[in-house]
């Protein structure tokens, strides 16, 4: 993927750009707002990562300008503090996701990989499948190997999010934000507990595990290897 990283902190920028390149992405860096906007307007990026606080032109303005110029690449905002208003402003201004600084690179990568496939989501999916697990989004029904699995609403949402991003690692934080709408660290391991409940329900007849733990990081749903 071609990634544009607009960030004025050179150390963070080098670290991220380097990491992105190592993971096989093409990454460009812009150190200030104007440069970032010009590069972004070229339209050749599949994903844009923007810091909210930038010299010359702030991140929100860049994204608004890009959106009005018809650039529809997914945008991920980096915010200094977990400020709800900044976050909401960013999302309303055309951002697709946000990440609070300081962040772990793995968290950024997980978000990039989820965002990177979003344009293809324009086709409305009604049935999600992973191996023998099937989720009917309209009937709100989940089957594994034909057997209906009864899920609580929250478990259903959790599984839906995992399945929509099948094969991609989703982090604990992403699950908290997207499934529970908790934009804070709940301290108690609520994601872990919910996942183990879900796992137990999905493997009632001791079928092979579908939800895999990526240690110290997150989860991924994929067919058993």
């Amino acid at each position: 993927m071609r990634v544009l990283f607009i960030e004025d902190d050179l150390e963070t920028a080098n670290y991220v750009v380097d990491g992105l390149r190592r993971s096989g992405h093409v990454a460009d860096h812009a150190a200030d707002g104007q440069d970032g906007l010009l590069r972004g307007l070229s339209g050749c990026y599949e994903i844009i990562i923007v810091d909210r606080m930038l010299p010359t032109l702030d991140g929100l303005r860049i994204v608004k300008t890009l959106r009005s110029a018809g650039v529809d690449a997914p945008v991920l905002f980096l915010t200094a503090l977990a400020e709800i208003d900044d976050r909401v402003e960013g999302l309303e201004g055309g951002g697709d996701d946000y990440l609070t600084k300081p962040f772990a690179f793995s968290e950024l990568m997980a978000r990039i990989s989820v965002l990177g496939r979003r344009p293809r989501m324009t086709t409305v999916e009604t049935i999600l499948r992973v191996a023998d697990l099937e989720m009917d989004l309209i009937a709100r029904r989940v089957r594994r190997g034909g057997a209906i699995i009864n899920l609580q609403p929250r478990e259903f949402q959790l599984l839906e999010y995992l399945m929509r991003n099948a094969g991609r690692v989703v982090t604990r934080t992403m699950l908290l934000e997207k499934v529970w709408e908790f934009h804070f660290d709940p301290k108690t391991k609520i994601v872990e507990s919910q996942i183990s409940r879900l796992r137990a329900k999905l493997a009632k007849d001791s079928q092979p595990e579908l939800i895999h733990t990526v240690r110290g990081f997150g989860y991924v749903i994929k067919p058993p290897s």
Partner: protein, 498 residues
């Protein structure tokens, strides 16, 4: 002026002074009045004496010039015309002329009191008499009725009395008026102080420009407030700066640890060490964030983000989120949440505060504990309570648990930053709700009471002023300072794409 304000008016120092002043003045007036009265009486008496003497002189002259008969005639005439009373006796003491009711007055000056009607009842008259021996052996007495002086005296006392009453009324009214002016200025000081207590640090006492005592007092107070504000802002500025300044290098350190962990793959002991360091780093960073957020919330800067919040739904969501985790630790959450209880507040902060309460209850209770959550309406307030049947908190430390970094001795080894309940306290403060910890016998009960009748008080204009001051002081934009809420768009619920 309303009746309820009257007693307060009367209680003021200025009113007391006015009353005292009026009393002193009244005494002075009474003394001056007495002096005037005394002088007046003396002068009246002298006038009477002079008048009588002049009359006697005239009659003596008459006798000398015209003889006895003319004198008798003159006395008779005068008795009919003038206000004075006359008596002319011959050498034997027989009345020759005059109408004076006294028969034989002593020679020289005398004062005779006699009753006007025969029965002795009714008013009496006092006559001031001067009797002289004439050259022809007759005795002449001229008298004046003291009654006129008495009348004047009475009139004078009456007038003085009325004056005194009027005077007292005027001074009390003046006192009231003065105290009202006084009160009004004291009230402006009080109102200013109250708005500062509510968090509007920009508020100042208005000056009248008269440079009187009040103005000077207000000026001094304002200067003191400026100083306090500068100190507080300095503190906020410093703590924000420290936290912000450390967050950046700590963030980089975190990145470096992460990078190092990748290269350490294959060396299990390094990998574990780096992972532990990374976890510690996350702990430090989350403590910093928690501190920064608590101080931001305490600064009251987020109230403009308030909207109607369904507390019932909110608590249900949080309860549901924590139930699996609680179960895993062998604890049961029982919920009794009344539906559709709404309050004005910040949804995300309230969610986090509730989450912290659950986290607290789950972490600090032994396995097998029962945690009961309830939300109900109690008259004009909504009460959210989380109670457990764990070990509880000793009464003397119950209020301390809401302090930053306070931890019970027995929790020293439990994970956590010691900021969870401090965060709840800050959120409660922002919402003007009452947070309390009590004995659940056994266990701890934490209650959050939202006053539905009284919305949290924070003036948007005050916030705007505070924001402008920030911008002047620190320049803008600054990454470490909160934006002014009025500049933010109203938050709408945004659902992130799943």
């Amino acid at each position: 002026m309303s009746l309820s304000r009257l007693p307060r008016l009367v209680r003021t120092a200025s009113f007391g002074l006015a009353v005292l002043y009026a009393a002193v003045l009244a005494v002075s007036v009474i003394i001056i009045g007495a002096i005037v009265y005394w002088a007046l009486e003396i002068s009246l008496e002298r006038q009477t004496t002079e008048r009588i003497d002049a009359d006697i002189g005239l009659l003596k002259e008459e006798l000398r010039a015209e003889g006895d008969s003319e004198l008798i005639e003159e006395v008779q005439r005068r008795s009919d015309v003038l206000g004075l009373e006359y008596l002319l006796l011959d050498a034997k003491g027989t009345r020759i002329a005059g109408t004076m009711p006294v028969l034989s007055p002593a020679l020289g000056w005398s004062t005779v009191e006699l009753s006007t009607n025969r029965s002795g009842a009714g008013s009496s008259r006092t006559l001031h008499i001067h009797s002289v021996e004439l050259d022809n052996g007759m005795r002449l007495s001229v008298a004046d009725d003291y009654g006129s002086i008495e009348d004047m005296r009475r009139a004078w006392i009456e007038a003085a009395g009325w004056c005194l009453i009027a005077f007292l009324l005027l001074s009390v009214a003046g006192g009231l008026l003065l105290s009202r002016r006084f009160l009004r200025r004291v009230d402006t000081i009080r109102i200013t102080a109250e708005s500062i207590i509510r968090g509007d640090l920009e508020s100042r006492i208005p000056l009248h420009g008269t440079n009187d005592n009040f103005d000077r007092l207000s000026l001094t107070l304002n200067q003191m407030l400026d100083r306090i504000q500068a100190l507080m802002e300095g503190l906020r500025y410093m703590s924000n700066h420290i936290a912000h300044a450390l967050r950046t290098p700590l963030g980089r350190l975190q990145q470096k640890l992460e990078a190092a962990r990748k290269t350490a793959l294959g060396n299990p002991s390094y990998e574990t060490a780096l992972e532990n360091m990374q976890q510690e780093m996350e702990g430090i960073l989350s403590t910093f964030s928690a501190l920064l957020r608590i101080s931001k919330i305490e600064a009251g800067a987020r109230q403009s983000g308030f909207s109607e919040v369904d507390l019932s739904a909110l608590l249900t969501t949080v309860c549901d989120a924590y139930s699996a985790a609680a179960e895993e630790r062998g604890k049961v959450i029982g919920a009794d949440i009344a539906p559709s209880l709404w309050t004005l507040g910040d949804k995300e902060l309230l969610t986090e505060a509730m989450a912290n309460l659950f986290d607290n209850a789950i972490k600090h209770t032994p396995a097998g504990a029962h945690i009961s959550v309830s939300l109900y309406r109690d008259r004009s307030s909504i009460v959210a309570s989380i109670a457990d049947d764990g070990l509880g908190v000793p009464p003397e430390t119950r209020d301390l648990i809401f302090e930053r970094f306070y931890r019970l001795d027995r929790s020293a080894n439990t994970e956590g930053t010691g900021l969870g309940l401090a965060f709840v306290a800050a959120v409660a403060g922002l919402h003007g709700s009452e947070l309390s910890a009590s004995d659940n016998s056994p266990g701890l009960r934490i209650e959050l009471r939202f006053d539905v009748a009284k919305p949290p008080n924070m003036l948007p204009t005050a916030l705007l002023r505070a924001y402008k001051a920030d911008r002047v002081r620190y320049g803008h934009p600054s990454p470490h300072l909160e934006k002014h809420p009025s500049q933010r768009p109203q938050r709408k619920p945004v659902r992130l794409p799943i």
